[in-house]
């Protein structure tokens, strides 16, 4: 098995995620991109776990998946509230922190 192939897959997925987070305007799409990044991390974990013959990495990946699910739950709730208040999920409109 070529470890590099999986690592490249992980890196590619991560870059896709970063692109989505930075370039998308829709908050829901940004959340989905974050999921992509988390999964890239999972792939890395499992790859290295396999390399070292350590089952612990897979357990860790399962934890990441569980935490990601919770995170999406919270994130979507926030997005829903933003939509109710502003009738929009465009992150361009959300610049209350502007200096």
């Amino acid at each position: 098995m070529l470890v590099t192939q999986f690592l490249l897959l992980g890196a590619l997925l991560f870059c896709c995620g970063i692109y989505g987070v930075l370039a998308r305007r829709n908050a829901v799409m940004i959340l989905m991109s974050i999921e992509l990044m988390l999964n890239a991390v999972n792939i890395n974990l499992i790859t290295f776990g396999h390399l070292h013959g350590d089952i612990g990495a897979q357990v860790f990946a399962l934890f990441v998946i569980a935490v990601a699910a919770a995170e999406v739950g919270v994130g979507l709730a926030i997005v829903l509230l933003i939509y109710r208040n502003r009738s929009s999920v465009n992150v361009e409109d959300l610049d209350l922190m502007r200096g």
């Binding site: 987070v21 930075l22 992150v91 959300l94 610049d95 922190m97 502007r98 200096g99």
Partner: protein
Amino acid sequence: MLENAFIIPLIPAISFVLILALGKRLKGGAAAHWIGIAAVGAAFVLSIVAAVQWIDRSEDAASGDSHAAVVEVEDGDHAEGAAGGGSGTTLLATEADGEGEAGHAPTAQPVISQITWLQSGGVEHKVGTYVDGLSVLLLVVVSTVSLLVHVYSTEYVKGDRRYVHYFAFLSLFTASMLFFVLSSSILQMIVGWELVGVCSFALIGHWWEEGENSNAALKAFLTNRVGDIGLLIGMIILFFAAGTFDVFTINDMIAHGEIRHLLLLIAALALTAAVMSKSGQFPLHTWLPDAMAGPTPVSALIHAATMVVAGVYLVARLYPVFYDGYAIQSSSFNILAITGGFTALMAAGLAFAQWDIKKVLAYSTVSQLGYMVMALGVGAWTAAVFHLFTHALFKACLFLGAGSVSHASHHTFDMRKMGGLKKDMPFTFWTFIISSLALAGIFPLAGFWSKDEILVGALEGQSTGYPVMLILGCAVAAMTAAYMTRVIWYTFFGEYRGEGHPHESSKVITIPLMLLAGGAILGGLANLPTPVAEKIGIKGFAHRIETYAEPIDFLEPLGFSVAAPSLGMALVGLGLALFGILVTYLYFWRDMGPHGLTERNRYAKAGYAFLENKYYLDVLYTDIIVGSIKRPIAKATYWFNQNVIDKIVNTAGEGARDGGKWVYKYIDQGLVDGAVNGAGATANASGEGLRLVQSGKVQHYGALLFGSAAVLAIIFVIVI
């Protein structure tokens, strides 16, 4: 019972918890004593069982049919309620090795049951029980006296505001003392030693509302701390010398000369300090008379019969350490013997000048403890243990008698407010007389036999006699008889000088007195000399304590020998005691001798004041030692405070004021204001610049984050 001896201290320990938890609910606390009495009664019965089994074991060993002297080392469910399956491994070890060399009858080996407590640095620390003649004897003494004191207390402290608390601590004390005498390792001994100290503290301060009592408790505790340092040091030295905390192994190694003499000497010296504090030896005895602030039954149990002999027990248990360390075999003078002898003499002198009946008894206790320590110092092991046994019986009786007297005469302990109680309190009077005669050493009561053995021990010594100790011992024998006669005169004869009408105490009080007085009469049977036992036709009953308790296997290789009884010495001891009684009798009853000498003669007055003030030892401790350390330090500190610190503070203040003006003018107005204004302006300008970065858009921030992470990653890759 010998293997499962841990049950004996466990029962009163459980009783302690039960009394604390349930005591108040039993008739509002008024029935709390039943738990304690039941537990101590059970411990008493089991102690008797253990004693009988030990005697059987000794007889078997002596008749030779159990050649395999057994030392049992068990890992498993034994000791202190530890659970778990018993994978008992029984080792047949150390087959009576004294047999061949010395030619005495094989003695029973101690029964040791142990579990591993903890493992550290490859050394296993074990706890468990060590049952031999000595510990069995102590078990019987402690549980007997404790049981009688429990019964007595139900009347004596009836209606006390801390009745439940009182019985809880009596239980805990009994448990701790039983635990202490069964210790199989010196580490365990330290635990027991401290536990009895805590109980003593709590019970001395039982009526802590009065400052005097709580001070006495503190004094007892703190004085004991001084000796505890010695205990710790001694035990640590023994541990590093022997590589184990195990009592049996340590004694065995010393018996075979495997530990260097110098180490043993240092350990013995350190442990002697511990004995001084716990057993009230000069110069750390001052706490014991003050400890009489506690309830009288407590004084009888803890400060006369059991706890204060912990020091004597410690020496007896680790006797090879002292025997080899002080070279008792070949010398005729050592620290232990002179400490004991001097304490005995000094305390006997003090007992003459006290008006508090309990204080007289307290000094008498100190004096008798000195006797025991002296006996150990001159190599009379059995005599010391025998005296411990008899003394516990008659001194407990005397203390309980004093309590009964005080109960009758309006709760005072001042002998000037007693007198003439003979006709009102016949039971108390007769038991008191019997115990006093036993203490004085009058034939054939218990004290006669044990005191005689100590004097013979000092006369014959080991390879040489101990003349100094013999003289001290003889002087004390006469003095003891004299001061006890004085107490009896003031308490029971003459006219009643107190308030109210004295009355005999109830049966709950007099029956323990009678039982203990019976012990004071018959206690001597425990170790009768052979010639006497032959005369009265119980030859097989001679030297029982010596036969059952003496750790001869440890001591024989070191050259230990037992002094033969001597009729001459017995007559001298008896004569001295009778002389003491006679002189006091003539002085008080027949009104002979120099009465009022202390008022008329300046020197006699000074001497009396010297005694009355306890040789000024308390003054020495509190005023001179503490004072000399405290006062100059306080003075120096005050001077330092006034002259140095104040000056520095004042100078600093003035300097600061002048400096402040200058600083205001130039630094504050010029430099600081300028800097502050400048900083504000700079911040404003930079903020304007940075404002552009703060777009408020999350994605901007994200882009910056990832961008900088990428830059750092690139640097990382290039550099590494």
